[in-house]
């Protein structure tokens, strides 16, 4: 926004002002300063966490160097570690989760805003938010006691029998592994994306939507070409919220992962993610090198998140330009 005078001259009398005359001078600069500090605090925290991580990961970085990133060795008794299987598991499980959750969430948001009676929408919307309220350890236990057996007894054997020629549907169909982990993550991020997307869609001005309807567009067309575009930044923000949650989820995946420290193409195999490895190993690890390795895994996760963000920023700028926004 261009510079705007904080106070117009010749303010007409009769306009109620809540601020006493003297404070007026400080209010706006104070406001600017406060919000700037608040924003800076976010940056400060990230930098601080990064520093703490780097300090604790020094030992591991010095010991293994760069090849830590593409080595899938994991021999705790021999003090040999490699991050490849964890990185792979994180990326694939997050991709599965986003692939399942994104269309579901957007379509549920559409339902809540456009298609349902307002009272029903409020109830259903609150019900979906409740999904987010369930503690992650409960998700883990539900996954362990309910979802994994269901996947292992019905879904995975069926997939293995009928679609087993597809490489990703291979592995021992026991219900514990990449697919179940991706599903649990999708369930966990669904309410976040839905809630934000719902509010974004609700904030699209009625006028704009009616302009579309007035030209004979169907509901879906108005949603796709008007609402989603208008609220694109908000929708993308919702997706990033979900993505962050999926990448950082510690407990739930730890229960259904199986902690196999190898890279496997099949989704029925046990797997591990960076966070599940942290959750499973951190509290029991007493070896200084092992602890350092775990911290380095956390650092790598940070790096992955930053990389995804940067790629997304570049891509968004390009998409934004073609959509005509001057963002």
């Amino acid at each position: 926004m261009s510079a705007i005078p904080s106070e117009a001259p010749n303010r007409p009398r009769g306009v109620a002002t809540a601020t006493p005359r003297g404070a007026r001078r400080f209010a706006d600069p104070l406001f600017h300063l406060t919000v700037r500090l608040a924003a800076a605090s976010v940056a400060v925290l990230v930098v601080a966490i990064f520093i703490v991580l780097v300090l604790d990961a020094r030992l591991s970085i010095r010991t293994f160097g760069l090849k830590f990133l593409w080595s899938d060795v994991w021999l705790p008794t021999n003090h040999q570690f490699g991050a490849l299987s964890s990185i792979y598991g994180t990326l694939v499980s997050t991709a599965i989760a986003m692939a399942i959750a994104t269309p579901l969430a957007l379509v549920i948001a559409l339902l809540l805003v456009e298609l349902l009676h307002p009272a029903v929408s409020r109830v259903v919307g609150t019900a979906i938010e409740l999904l987010a309220a369930v503690p992650s350890i409960i998700y883990g236990m539900w996954g362990l006691f309910v979802l994994a057996p269901f996947m292992g007894r019905h879904v995975e054997p069926w997939l293995s029998a009928h679609l087993g020629f597809i490489p990703v549907f291979s592995g021992p169909p026991l219900g514990i592994g990449m697919l179940t982990a991706g599903l649990i993550l999708a369930l966990m991020i669904l309410p976040f994306i839905t809630a934000v997307a719902r509010d974004v869609l609700r904030m699209v001005p009625q006028v704009t939507k009616e302009a579309g309807y007035g030209m004979g567009s169907t509901t879906w067309e108005v949603t796709r070409k008007v609402s989603l575009r208008y609220g694109l930044q908000g929708i993308i923000g919702a997706l990033f919220l979900g993505l962050g949650r999926a990448l950082g989820e510690t407990m739930a995946v730890a229960f259904v992962a199986g902690q196999l420290m190898q890279v496997k193409v099949g989704w029925f195999w046990n797997m591990n993610t960076i966070t599940s490895t942290l959750a499973n190993s951190f509290t029991e690890a007493s070896d200084k090198l092992f602890l350092s390795v775990l911290i380095e895994l956390g650092l790598i996760l940070f790096a992955i998140t930053v990389t995804i963000q940067l790629i997304a920023q570049v891509w968004l700028r390009r998409v934004g330009r073609s959509l005509g926004s001057e963002r």
Binding site: A39, V46, I108, L130, A133, T194, M203, G237, E249, T250
Partner: protein
């Protein structure tokens, strides 16, 4: 019917209303839109196709919603069926039982501890997140610092909670030599902050620019425009952001494990190890003893119900359905 055809072709309405562009940036029609290729111009979708597509999406929407609700019902059923019978007067008034074999006992100290820790975290994290969101949406919009902060917020929101716990431990527990509920609250606030900030930014950005301009034109100072006009317009979304931030931390165990530690004692304040629900659930649910497991599920149910309550109350107090 040419207007009709144009609308289906490129999605850009014939006129360019000032508010039709993403984010409500006022002003001129877009510069540098991609030219529409001849193939795209020629492709016309018949009304029947479009109606079918619309119906297909509606069906998918209903199916997806029902799927989501079905799974929610399954999870809630699991929590309710295992947790409800643990609720009793004892559950809400007695402290956690040290002896797994004795029946009875409750979660009272853990409930109070969680309430205090979460309230402390909310007081730290939500206002700070809101202010950061205001910066990103209002003051610093488009600046490089804002882009950097936005990326950082996204990174922070993806930080594993166990890492945040380690960070809070390194900052507030190790130097001071003891555990505290304040450290736990701080760890939770660090998790809440980016959720609130990003959601706030996204909601504030959606407020149409006309509102800001009319307020400014009346001579209101910037802060008044933000607090009096923009925040109000985005109120419903901001409440969602606050509720989501709260919900994000209500089920977290790892950050509290090394900070608030947990305690079998009655909670007297946040200055030392503080009993809390999530770590207690973690301990009890994975134990082999039935009594402890029941209490754990009861506590999980309580968390779900409490968050529901907070969400409802927050909406009642602060949000209105947008009446457009």
């Amino acid at each position: 019917m040419s207007g009709f055809r144009d609308a289906t072709r490129s999605g850009a309405p014939l006129e360019a209303p000032a508010t039709a562009w993403p984010g409500g940036q006022a002003g001129a029609p877009p510069s540098g839109s991609a030219p529409i290729s001849p193939q795209r111009q020629l492709r016309q979708r018949s009304p029947r196709t479009r109606r079918l597509a619309d119906r297909a999406v509606r069906v998918f929407a209903w199916a997806a919603a029902w799927l989501g609700i079905a799974v929610l019902a399954l999870i809630l059923y699991a929590v309710v069926s295992r947790g409800l019978h643990a609720w009793s007067t004892d559950f809400f008034t007695r402290a956690t039982p040290g002896d797994p074999m004795q029946t009875g006992g409750g979660m009272a100290n853990a409930i109070l501890g969680t309430v205090l820790i979460t309230a402390f975290a909310a007081v730290l994290g939500i206002p700070l997140g809101l202010l950061a969101g205001i910066y990103l949406a209002e003051i610093g919009r488009g600046s490089r610092l804002a882009t950097a902060v936005r990326i950082m917020a996204n990174v922070l929101s993806g930080a594993p909670s166990i890492i945040v716990g380690i960070f809070a431990y390194a900052l507030l527990v190790k130097p001071l030599g003891h555990y505290s509920g304040y450290a736990g609250g701080f760890a939770l606030a660090v998790i809440m902050l980016p959720v609130m900030a990003r959601t706030a930014e996204d909601m504030l950005v959606m407020v149409p620019n006309e509102m800001r301009e009319s307020a400014l034109a009346l001579g209101a100072p910037r802060w008044k425009v933000t607090f009096g006009v923009v925040l109000r317009a985005a109120r419903s979304g901001l409440v969602t952001g606050a509720v989501l931030a709260l919900v994000r931390v209500s089920g977290e165990t790892a950050p509290l494990l090394f900070t608030a530690f947990n305690s079998p004692f009655w909670t007297r304040g946040l200055g030392g190890p503080t009993a809390n629900l999530t770590v207690t659930i973690y301990n009890f649910a994975l134990s082999p003893y039935r009594n402890w497991q029941d209490l754990a599920w009861g506590a999980a149910l309580l968390i779900v119900v409490a968050v529901l309550g907070v969400s409802v109350v927050a909406r009642l107090l602060f949000a209105r359905e947008t009446e457009r």
